[in-house]
Each structure stands twice: as structure tokens, then as C-alpha cells.
Symmetry: C2
Subunit: 206 residues, 2 copies
DNA sequence: CTCATTGGATAGTTTCACAATCCAATATTG
DNA sequence: CAATATTGGATTGTGAAACTATCCAATGAG
């Protein structure tokens, strides 16, 4: 096991020492092993953790508070991996602003019925989806049922593959893998969609 | 055409007057028609524009600077709708931090070759995708080719449908529709993916 | 013994997105 | 017509988020 001072931890991760101190204060990085009053040992688990924090911030676009929630879920031995994944989704359409009305919620429920998906009546996803649809609607660009079904079909394709890629061998590893895949593949999916749009457009026209 | 003072504009959109003034200053809302030195008329185009701004902020999660870019693209008569859509994607994996190496770029190129997709060697998407893959890799959770192909397949499904839903009749309307759909359906897709994961997980296990 | 370094604490900075005040020019009301 | 209220524009203030810089006492190396 490689041990190091904070300065080497900074060198290895490319982060400034004050930033690492800040993450320690915010509970994003567990404290090193104290050696006397003014020294502490850090090891490669700290290097890994810092890389994970930066990826969640830079790639997945999480705020520090959400990063902490994700890390807590990974570290919580009492959560199964699929419970842990839920911890990530605290953002997405905020409940503020264009609250959905009953007709949007009904539209969401119908979509799920067509796919045979279960969704608790109190799920935050239900409200978030309805809110997004309400926005589209109020701007005069409501998606058709057909359009939504295509999105759900694509999501089903992806969701199955995501879940199939997980194994339950080591709970801690599996939880981290699940979180990392769920969050860091989000931008990948969005970029691919963008490129697919461009290619479909090129195909259809010039 | 309904005309109104700023206070009524505020009442209709639910936004505080100081916020509307701020958006005027930032160029997110075109100035009203000046009537004397201390009065100006606003109309329903201003109401629409404000609703659009709020949706881009709250639902799509854009920052004000990105909102301005999107609005400029919608308003620029010289851009075709599919050129306009490109303006939106200024965020996603930032170029900072874990820069991709050549092997990640090659992986992206191979993925595209398998799908028969074209991608300019200097496209920002190429670099952004490679950076996201580099992150996954450095954390020890690289997605398999199979996994990536599934994502690309799902993206193709969606991209085709997105493009098919556009018509070229009115350029201004088409550009707005394209931007709104591209950006506001992003959270919809991510939420559906999350729900699909949950359902796939339930199906596979208990 | 001297002195640079370390970890911890505290305070300062920057950016973003507003929100509050102030003011002079009008409308409106009595 | 005078008193009051409202408006648009400019300037300044605020609060959160994510760092960044300074200070300091305790060390450990030379």
C-alpha cells in the first residue's frame, strides 16, 4: 500500500492542496490516518476517491452536495446497489416553476401502461416527467405519443443493457460501478443522440 | 395584439419585475416598444420569450449565457434549423480535467465506423465523447463495445424520430421547435432511462 | 537549534443569478 | 392643477456555490 502526504496526493490528482482541504472539510474525502498532530497519511484509496469526485463534477455535472449524496450511498453498506443508484437523481427538472397539471400526469401514466412499466404514484420521476411535458406543452411544442413511445423504447433498450452489465459479487464495487455507469454515461447518451440527429438530418436532406 | 406594461408582463409570467429587467439587460428579452421616456409596451411575444427562457433554465438546466446563445441561434435568420440546433451544445463534458488520449478517440471512431456515422475529425462531440470514456476508464469502469453499441442504437432510434418530427415550413418556428425539442427532451430521456433501469432490475431479480 | 513543511482553521475571492434602491419622467387621481 | 403613484433605466447589494489564500502552531529534517 502506497502512503503519501497531502502534497503528493495533490500532485497525483492534479488538484491544488487547498481544494483537497476543502473536500476534506465538506466530507467528500475521508480524512487520512493521523500521524502526530500535524501529519497524516493518505493512500491510493484517496487518489481514487478524488478522481471519482472530479469525474462526477466535470463529466456528470453534479454539484458538491449531490456528489456527497452519491458517495454516501456507495459507502453505505446497508444499501443494495440498486437502492444506491437512486441516490444520484436529486436534480433533473426542479419541482419549481411550471408545475404539471393532472393531464400531464395522466399522459405519463398512459405511456407507462403502454410499456407495461410499473411506477409508484408518488415517484418523483412521475412528477418530473409530467413537469417536463408541461413545459413542452406550454411552449407549443408538445411531443406526440409516438415520439414519447420511441423515447421509452430507446430507454428500455439502454436500461436492460445497463442492468445486465452489473454483477452482485462485491457489493461495494457493484454499487460504485452502478453509480459511475448511471451518471457518467448520461453525457455519453446525450452526445450520441446529438450526433444521431445530425446524421439522420443529413440522410433525410442534403 | 395585446400590449402591456412591464408589471403586467411580470404578472403573466410569474416572474418578479427585477428579474425581467435583469433579463433585458442581459439581452435575453428584446426591449419593449418605447412610449415616451419612462414607458414601454410589451406584447405576447415577450411573454412567450420569457416562458422559453424559464424552460431552458429550469427544465434543460442551461445557464443564462447558454440561453442567450440558443436564443441568438433561433433569431438568426441566416441559420437553417439544423445549424441552429448546434448552438445549444456548449456544455457537456468540459474540456478541462481528464483530457482524452488517442486510444479513446480511436474507440469513438471505431464505434462510428460500425454504425456508418460520419463525424468530422475536429467535431467537439468526438473530443467530448472521448473525454467521457477516458473518465469511465480511469475509474476502472470502462463500458464494453457491446454496451456502447446499444447506446448508439438507442440514440439512432431517437435521432431519426426527432428529425422526422420537424418540418421546414416556417424557418423561425422550425428553429425554435428544433431547439426546444432537442433541449427539453434531454431530461425526459434521462428520466425514462432511469425508470427503465429500475424496471429491468425488478424483472431480472425480485 | 533552526527552519521549511504540514495539517487545520479562518477569512477572502469569483462567478452566477438575481433582488433592492434610487431617480427622474410621466400618468392618474382628486 | 397639485399631489401621488407608477414606470423604466441605472446602480448597488445579496446569497449561494466552489474554490483560494493566509495564518498558525506543531513538527521533523538537516
Amino acid at each position: 500500500m502506497i502512503v503519501m502526504w497531502m502534497s503528493e496526493l495533490a500532485a497525483r490528482t492534479g488538484l491544488p492542496v487547498p481544494t483537497i482541504k476543502y473536500y476534506l472539510r465538506e466530507g467528500l474525502l475521508p480524512p487520512g490516518e493521523s500521524v502526530g498532530a500535524t501529519r497524516a497519511h493518505y493512500d491510493d484509496t484517496h487518489v481514487r476517491r478524488l478522481r471519482l469526485v472530479r469525474a462526477l463534477i466535470e463529466v456528470a455535472g453534479l454539484r458538491l452536495e449531490d456528489v456527497r449524496r452519491v458517495l454516501d450511498a456507495i459507502d453505505d453498506e446497508d444499501l443494495s446497489w440498486h437502492e444506491a443508484v437512486g441516490a444520484a437523481h436529486t436534480r433533473l427538472p426542479s419541482p419549481a416553476g411550471g408545475a404539471a397539471d393532472e393531464s400531464q400526469r395522466q399522459r405519463v401514466d398512459e405511456l407507462f401502461q403502454r410499456r407495461g412499466w410499473e411506477l409508484s404514484p408518488v415517484s418523483p420521476h412521475r412528477e418530473a416527467l409530467a413537469a417536463a411535458l408541461a413545459s413542452l406543452d406550454s411552449l407549443g411544442h408538445p411531443p406526440s405519443d409516438d415520439h414519447l413511445d420511441t423515447y421509452a423504447e430507446a430507454a428500455a433498450l439502454i436500461g436492460r443493457k445497463d442492468v445486465a452489465g452489473l454483477d452482485e459479487s462485491d457489493r461495494a464495487d457493484a454499487a460504485e460501478h452502478a453509480e459511475v455507469s448511471t451518471l457518467l454515461l448520461e453525457p455519453v447518451l446525450l452526445i450520441l443522440r446529438r450526433i444521431a440527429q445530425e446524421n439522420a438530418s443529413r440522410e433525410l436532406r442534403g
